[in-house]
């Protein structure tokens, strides 16, 4: 129940931010639209929402996810800029990262988080087969890339999107 209310509040807040308005009519319209969206989404995919774990535990992991992703973004931006100003990704290549079979939301979050950083490009991701194909700037040590991705998943993402 708390998760549903939170979703309605967040969606309404986004609606009001887009309108930059706090008039009662706009608030009411936002609440109705958000409620309809949340109810429809819950009816379409009820099982996945229930399987994601306790809401408060997931929310507690959000700062680590956002902050850690920003750290990764800064590091990846620096590496990519240095690489592009030099000779380019001469050691670039594809690396297959095994991922444990997870929910669609977890796989999508993993792909977005990794693809957001410029030094990695998500080529393929298959949550059912448990496999993600990445193109990285330095693929000389694929095992190190795989280990780093698993480490980042554990530290940043697992609590929020298991």
């Amino acid at each position: 129940m708390l998760a549903l209310v939170l979703r309605v509040v967040v969606l309404t807040a986004i609606y009001l931010l887009v309108l930059t308005s706090l008039r009662p009519g706009d608030v009411l319209t936002g609440l109705v639209l958000a409620t309809v969206l949340v109810v429809v989404a819950r009816r379409l995919r009820p099982a996945e929402a229930a399987a994601s774990g306790p809401l408060l535990r997931r929310l507690a992991g959000v700062p680590a996810l956002v902050g850690g992703t920003l750290v990764d973004l800064v590091r990846g931006t620096w590496d990519t800029a240095v690489c592009l100003c030099g000779r380019g990704p001469v050691h670039g290549g594809l690396v297959e990262v095994p991922i444990r079979p997870c929910a669609r939301a977890g796989a999508a979050a993993w792909g977005v988080r990794v693809g957001f950083v410029p030094d990695t490009v998500v080529v393929e991701i298959d949550e059912q087969a448990g496999r993600m194909l990445l193109h990285v700037l330095d693929a000389r040590d694929p095992e190190a890339v795989v280990a780093a991705q698993h480490d980042l998943y554990e530290r940043r993402q697992r609590r929020v999107f298991p």
């Binding site: 986004i14 931010l17 887009v18 930059t20 973004l73 800064v74 931006t77 990519t80 800029a81 690489c83 592009l84 100003c85 380019g88 990704p89 670039g92 290549g93 594809l94 792909g111 977005v112 988080r113 990794v114 693809g115 957001f116 950083v117 410029p118 030094d119 490009v121 998500v122 080529v123 393929e124 991701i125 194909l133 193109h135 700037l137």
Partner: protein
């Protein structure tokens, strides 16, 4: 005092964003393979645009900053998806044509 600080931070973010966009443009022109170009464009569509949007704090206008914050969230969610779509298309084309998958 705060206004001056916000001006300086906003200006620095704007400069950073422009530098990243320039590096990205140079990278896209220099790189040959699709993946290399995707790494380069990732600089522009991710941190470059975000830095420029974040420089809106210098305006000290809540409405503009709200729009910028929403735009940052939108960019953060959509830019990896677009990069992935292009990379997957390049990978499948390389597989179909028998090219080296690393540099389509």
């Amino acid at each position: 005092m705060i206004s001056v600080v916000l001006d300086v931070v906003g200006g620095a973010l704007l400069l950073l964003g422009l530098v990243l966009l320039t590096v990205s443009l140079v990278g896209v022109l220099r790189m040959r393979g699709t993946y290399g170009q995707l790494h380069a464009q990732g600089l522009a569509t991710g941190p470059g645009v975000i830095a420029i949007l974040a420089s809106s704090i210098a305006t000290e206008d809540a409405a503009i900053m709200s729009f910028a914050a929403l735009a940052i969230v939108f960019v953060a969610l959509t830019s990896p998806v677009s990069g992935h779509a292009i990379a997957r298309a390049a990978h499948r084309r390389a597989q179909r044509d028998g090219d080296h998958p690393g540099e389509p």
